[in-house]
Symmetry: C2
Subunit: 240 residues, 2 copies
């Protein structure tokens, strides 16, 4: 009886800790499938259908789609040289790809092509933060914009199965002023963002690049250092 | 006889002015071909062969390759909505694509799909500026890096037929702090940069993203405003 109570206590504690995001050790990492390197529309055709989505199905991504998406974003394409599908200043690999899913938050380990568990729980709402309605005097915004931390930016997206967040750690650059490291981080986030946008265009998935999110909440949740900058997010999912 | 002398005088004056970059009006704009939207490797295959080049043939690009390259970088793919292959914050279209060629410098007009003449003369050396040799204590740099304005960055490239320079005009954002506009400009340059890198990977052209260049010389030459930031360059050419 005491054992049952003890189990119950552990379970309740787990749920409680999970909801406050403390149980990364209970969230299992995800081993990804090898990427399908023959996949996708011809490059110019992918560009011609690239567009920013505003709605998504909430159906989970298949393991193969998730695997190919991560590899496209920043996968090793020349393993012998530690080089990936996205260039970075001084090959510093400063930009980490965080994936917010229903079960928890993961970070992409490009060397082992897996998603490492960071923290349990569904924290997608921090990324999908909605801003107040725009004043009527502001002209209608383009659906293709990188939504910005500004009142006139594009409408926030509805729910999507996953939310990708791009975060640069400027500590990884072995030279440069703080201003330059910030600039290189933003450029690097843009490079990975376009890999994500074009992978989705080439394979029929839906996404859009966004700058709007609750950066302070994300910094707290992921226990980021002062040198880590949160630049962009990408909701990704199937067509609704 | 006087007519011959007059012509000769005009010619000599033109050469002299051309070399000092004053004769934009004598440099003709280039009407580009419609893009070939069926072109290029399947998307994942393009990613798998993406790599940064260090040498190029100096052979001029064909008009079709130049046309497709510009359209891939930031071409109109949804003309009715004024939207292009590269997202920008608030759809501000803040990043201009300057092309430094042997005859002069041009800027891409995405709405009319043409290269508008900016200034005559071969100014590619401002973009291909070489930095002093790296100190021996610095570890060997990766060939995949965005070469940076820092002593330890990647070796500068040899001559290429064209040099693309990405410049954001932060005046075009209708909201945001100066810091945010700078960040959005850098992100936008990264997005266009990856379109260029992947177009080259998909079609067999050679390029690399670089941050190192003579920014002050470029600002003077192009008569840039204080609100215009010079972020990246891409030498582009055929394989040597």
């Amino acid at each position: 009886m005491s054992r049952v109570l003890s189990c119950l206590f552990v379970t309740i504690t787990s749920i409680s800790l999970m909801s406050s995001g403390l149980l990364a050790q209970e969230l299992e990492s995800i081993k990804l499938n090898p990427p399908d390197l023959a996949r996708g529309h011809p490059f110019m055709e992918a560009l011609s259908v690239k567009a920013s989505a505003s709605e998504w199905s909430d159906r989970d991504l298949s393991l193969q789609d998730l695997s190919d998406l991560m590899w496209a974003a920043n996968g090793l394409n020349r393993p012998d040289e530690d080089k990936t599908t996205a260039s970075s200043a001084m090959n510093a690999h400063d930009v980490d790809i965080y994936v917010f899913m229903k079960d928890g938050v993961f970070v992409y380990d490009y060397r082992n092509h897996e998603l490492d568990a960071v923290v349990g729980g569904d924290h997608r709402s921090a990324v999908m933060m909605r801003r107040p309605p725009r004043p009527e005097t502001v002209p209608e915004d383009s659906g293709n914009a990188v939504a910005a931390d500004a009142p006139a930016a594009a409408a926030p997206p509805a729910e999507a199965a996953i939310q990708i967040v791009l975060i640069s750690d400027s500590d990884r650059f072995r030279a440069g002023t703080n201003e330059l490291k910030y600039e290189w981080g933003a450029i690097g986030a843009g490079i990975i963002s376009q890999n994500i946008s074009l992978f989705c265009a080439a394979t029929g998935l839906k996404t859009r690049p966004r700058a709007s999110m609750d950066k302070e909440k994300i910094k707290d949740l992921l226990k980021l250092k002062e040198t880590q900058y949160v630049f962009l997010n990408h909701p990704v999912g199937y067509a609704k």
